[in-house]
């Protein structure tokens, strides 16, 4: 499964990644981060295609995207 890694310390909960994720992977958490923002988090990580749209749109560069390498046998 691909990984959409959100650094909650940098996230300001603007919701832009949530808005633009084509797979609706992301949601805004109702918890507060240390800066008093409600950060985004991957609610349905399994749906992530690693398209990186969220990361491209994130103003804080708070998102890193990792793609699962195709396993040879297939």
């Amino acid at each position: 499964m691909n990984v959409c890694k959100i650094n909650v310390n940098l996230c300001k909960g603007c919701g832009i990644c949530v808005k633009f994720c084509p797979k609706h992977v992301l949601e805004i958490s109702d918890e507060l981060n240390p800066s008093g923002f409600h950060p985004a988090h991957p609610a349905k990580p399994e749906l992530c295609t690693a398209c990186a749209i969220c990361a491209e749109m994130c103003p804080e560069t708070a998102i890193e995207i990792y793609r699962r390498k195709k396993s040879r046998a297939s």
Binding site: I6, S29, I53, K69
Partner: protein, 265 residues
Amino acid sequence: MSSLVEAPGTQLPDNDLQCVFKKPASMTSKPLHYCPGCSHGTYHRLIAELIDDANLLSTTVGVCPVGCAVFAYDYFEFDMIQAAHGRAPAVATGVKRCLPDRFVFTYQGDGDLAAIGTAETIHAAARGENITIFFVNNGIFGMTGGQMAPTSLIGQKTTTSRAGRDASWTGQPFKVCELLSTIEGCAYIARVALTSAKNVRTCKKYMRKAIQAQQQKSGFSLVEILSPCPVQWGMQPGDALDYIENTVTKVYPPGEFVNKLPESE
């Protein structure tokens, strides 16, 4: 919350994961001071990515404005100069004339560039000054609390136009790209809105051309981005992007206004 927290750069569980997106090397790890949903951060990242791509880290001198991006010098790994409000093009000229082989750019807001800095911008263009300007047009004075800018839309409510901007009193929105297009010293002038991943890529393409224009010594280059100021606009970040897409671009049409690059398509 700890469930959520992932300290940046921690080793990942397994090795079949390849990183497809992370912070560019020319950008520092310092958290940005911008408001939630502000595009300054995105534009910063694109600059850093292009500096990395073109391998310009060691030869770049950036000039940051007075405006919300005043602290930009904290976010880049290359040399930076903080310029007086509106004077970044003059400051960049001082550097570039003495060090013509450096990559010199300014980063300016619309108040900085299109209000107080009008003369410096236009004469840098008129001289064909071989510098690049990354211009953030959010139609407002963000840093000072949301006053009207020359670029504010008609009817736009700001703290100095509470009833909405009135054209009969303050004139029409100030169109930088259109104005500069009449100046022969301009080598590359373009405008884009950061309202989608596609546009972010277009923006990066335009920015790359602007940088090439300078590297080829073809003259003055500028890329204007239509950017949101969610806080001063009183909108949610997402809605602010839609507003740009649906309304702002009607007044400020995106596209390439001047392109004198030899190998430009």
